[in-house]
Amino acid sequence: MASAMSEEFEKFRLKIRNFVEKELDPVSIKIEQDTKIPDKIVDQMRQLGLFGLSIPKEYGGLGLSTIEEITIYEEITRTNACHRSRIGTSNGIGSMGILYDGTEEQKRKYLPRIAAGEWTAAFALTEPDAGSDAANISTSAVLKDDHWVLNGTKQFITNADTARVFTVIAVTDEQKRARGGVSAFIVEQGMPGLSIGSADLKMGLKGSHTNEVVFKDCQVPKENIIGGMEKVGEGFKTAMSVLDKGRLSMGACALGAAQKIMELCIEKIKNKIIEGLQKKEIQAIQFDLADMGIQIYAARQMLYNTASLRDHGGNITAEASMVKVFCTEMASRIAEKAIDIFEMDGCLTSNQIEILLRDVRLYRIYEGTSEIQRIIIARNLLKK
């Protein structure tokens, strides 16, 4: 599958791999301490075009296909996951709503800035009482003269502290709610009534932040509804439509991390063999390694196949959920086994394995928990 990619893209992919090894890996432990990605790194990511991977070329992005985009995620998650997270919302849930459903004017205004990494985009859907149950949000938007007035609190909003523009999902018709009463808004940082809370103290992804985002009589221009006034009430559809690809992305991130973990384990096992130590222990961990190889191979094939299906216009709702569950759960299993192989060394933050274990655990929650994915999958299987 990967072999079908263009030579030009292959070059880009190698450039990113090089960037990861030369620039990102060395700052990983520092980021754990500082809980911040160095500005220099963000600049480099901008220059590489990493904020606009899938935004079409006409809007200043790289215009990558799905399979190309996920391949880049695989590369960039071979290190501390915060980097992918930093570009993730601009490439995915933060900008895709505008791309899929926005007016031409909105696209022209926002996408080039997002693609350039000038404006980070974020996506505000989740609320304290509406996690998996997205249809239950209570943030409201009321039209008052030429402005929408937003009120409510969003939670766990990735990149809220660096975002210049938010895609915000809010209720515009309390009666209809998910069935035509929810709309998507473009809210810019600085609009009156928008405030960002302090960052959550998370288990992993220390360099990437999630925050509460509070709307208190927040004034948003009438035309900032995604797709314009004719799309009022279609926000839930917009929100859901950006999720399929998001699930593939999560799968790719988990896969990239898993692949990296396996490679580190291979090195570790080779060293154990060279050192002549622990020969008696070497068979069981080799079997663990074989299991890593098997799962990663399976994960990669299902991911690539699904991405390719999407690029060919297929409906991948069930498949994307399958990919997300399999890849993300696989990555946790592999990370846990890897710590065993590294023994106490694996518990040190100075070792990448320790960071990766904590990072990958997020993927089973983020952008739809494994449980929600299984509900979607079962529903689809029973439909047949």
């Binding site: 754990e32 301490q33 989740t126 009482d129 509406a130 996690g131 998996s132 149950d133 239950n136 939670q155 766990f156 959550d200 103290l201 998370k202 288990m203 992993g204 050192e275 130590l277 622990q278 008696k280 222990e281 069981a284 961990i285 946790s332 846990e336 710590i339 065993d340 023994e343 106490m344 694996g346 518990c347 040190l348 933050t349 100075s350 320790e354 274990l357 904590r358 655990r361 997020l362 089973r364 929650i365 928990t369 494994s370 449980e371």
Partner: protein, 384 residues
């Protein structure tokens, strides 16, 4: 046969529960972690209540109770906080070696200090690069006149650092021994001896309040009488000790699992999604059933191991089984608990992520699952 706690044991359990309720405050613990401070105040109170060295004979400052009571306390402490629980339960780390093999003088001097929380007891067994294969220790103790001269580097010494009163150091005393296991001895090295230096292992996955250090012994001179027990018997002493320490980790892990379960249970009872309490979903209920069953399982295995110790000797097989089952259970239960909390599971404030990290680290401490399986297999095939 009787699987019930007696009255005194129930009282002890209750006393620990009350202590935990009064002293283990989430915010204080997070602050300690933030500041890399030791929970000294809590340890002192635990000492006052007689929880430290509860199995020491009275003349050494203990309560003359048994291993069973010791692990009962460990479990209960970890329910409150797996992190602080580990500090308190491991404050006397290695004292079983003194109890069983030490001279009257060694016991008289050091055990009361441990029971009184004046010092921590520390052990230096493994070395850089040898992992679980401590028979490969290269640190030497050489007789030089009236003293032993100790040189070498040890890794991952629990309680090593500023609060350690002494180290029990596994040293090579016969480099000619055909079987390296028979050329090792344990030495009691006072922590303030010249030439002893300890460096904290730095940031790590879990058990962040525990002091764990790499220790260097540079021409350290100690009196001949500081040999513990017989010369060249160090390896078997340490192996025997591991049976004890594995039980403690097992008990902590049962508590870790129970602590994570309790928090997840409380969460799903109040959290609503899709118009229903989470606890009313079958999938949630099944997960809870799974978790509580595994905890019960792990608890019985741990109790069985501890009961076998009460008869004066340890049962290697049962101790390793307890360690294997309990630590694995803690990981599984914490992982489920984290997932049940969704996004909240990933942030510090809800505590479960801390239990998860401690659980994984406990799986590695005192020998990972491969080590335990090696040991169990050895016992059933007559190799141990």
């Amino acid at each position: 046969m009787n699987f019930e706690l007696n009255k005194e044991q129930k009282q002890i359990k209750k006393a620990v529960k009350d202590f935990v309720k009064g002293e283990f405050k989430k915010d204080i613990i997070h602050e300690l972690i933030e500041n890399k401070a030791y929970p000294a105040k809590i340890l002192n109170k635990a000492s006052e209540l007689g929880f430290l060295g509860i199995h020491f004979p009275e003349q050494y400052g203990g309560e003359a109770l048994s291993v069973f009571e010791k692990i009962l306390i460990a479990e209960e402490l970890a329910i409150g906080s797996s992190t602080v629980g580990a500090c308190v339960s491991l404050a006397g780390y290695g004292t079983e070696i003194l109890l069983q093999y030490g001279s009257e003088k060694q016991k008289k001097i050091w055990l009361p200090k441990v029971a009184d929380a004046e010092i921590l007891s520390s052990c230096a067994f493994t070395e850089p690069g040898i992992g679980n294969n401590i028979e490969l220790s290269q640190t030497t103790a050489v007789k030089d006149g009236n003293s032993w001269l100790i040189n070498g580097r040890k890794a991952f010494a629990v309680n090593g650092g500023p609060l350690a009163g002494f180290y029990i150091v596994l040293c090579k005393t016969d480099s000619e021994a055909g079987n390296p296991e028979q050329g090792l001895s344990t030495m009691l090295v006072e922590a303030d001896c010249q030439g002893v230096s300890a460096v904290d292992i730095g940031n790590r996955l879990g058990h962040k309040l525990l002091f764990i250090s790499n220790i260097e012994f540079n021409n350290v001179r100690i009196p001949l009488e500081n040999l513990i027990g017989q010369e060249h018997k160090g390896y078997s002493q340490v192996m025997e000790f591991f049976n004890h320490s594995r039980l403690v980790i097992a008990a902590l892990s049962v508590g870790t699992a129970q602590g994570a379960f309790d928090r997840a249970f409380a969460h799903v009872k109040q959290r609503e999604q899709f118009g229903q309490k989470l606890i009313d979903f079958q999938i949630t209920r099944h997960k809870l059933a799974e978790m509580i069953t595994e905890i019960e399982n792990a608890r019985l295995m741990t109790w069985q191991g501890a009961l076998a110790c009460e008869k004066g000797s340890t049962n290697t097989k049962l101790c390793s089984m307890a360690k294997l089952v309990a630590t694995r259970t803690a990981m599984k239960v914490c992982d489920h608990a984290l997932q049940l909390l969704g996004g909240y599971g990933y942030v510090q404030e809800y505590e479960v992520e801390g239990f998860y990290r401690d659980a994984k680290m406990s799986e590695i401490l005192e020998g990972n699952q491969h080590v335990q399986k090696d040991v169990i297999a050895d016992t059933i095939t007559g190799k141990r």
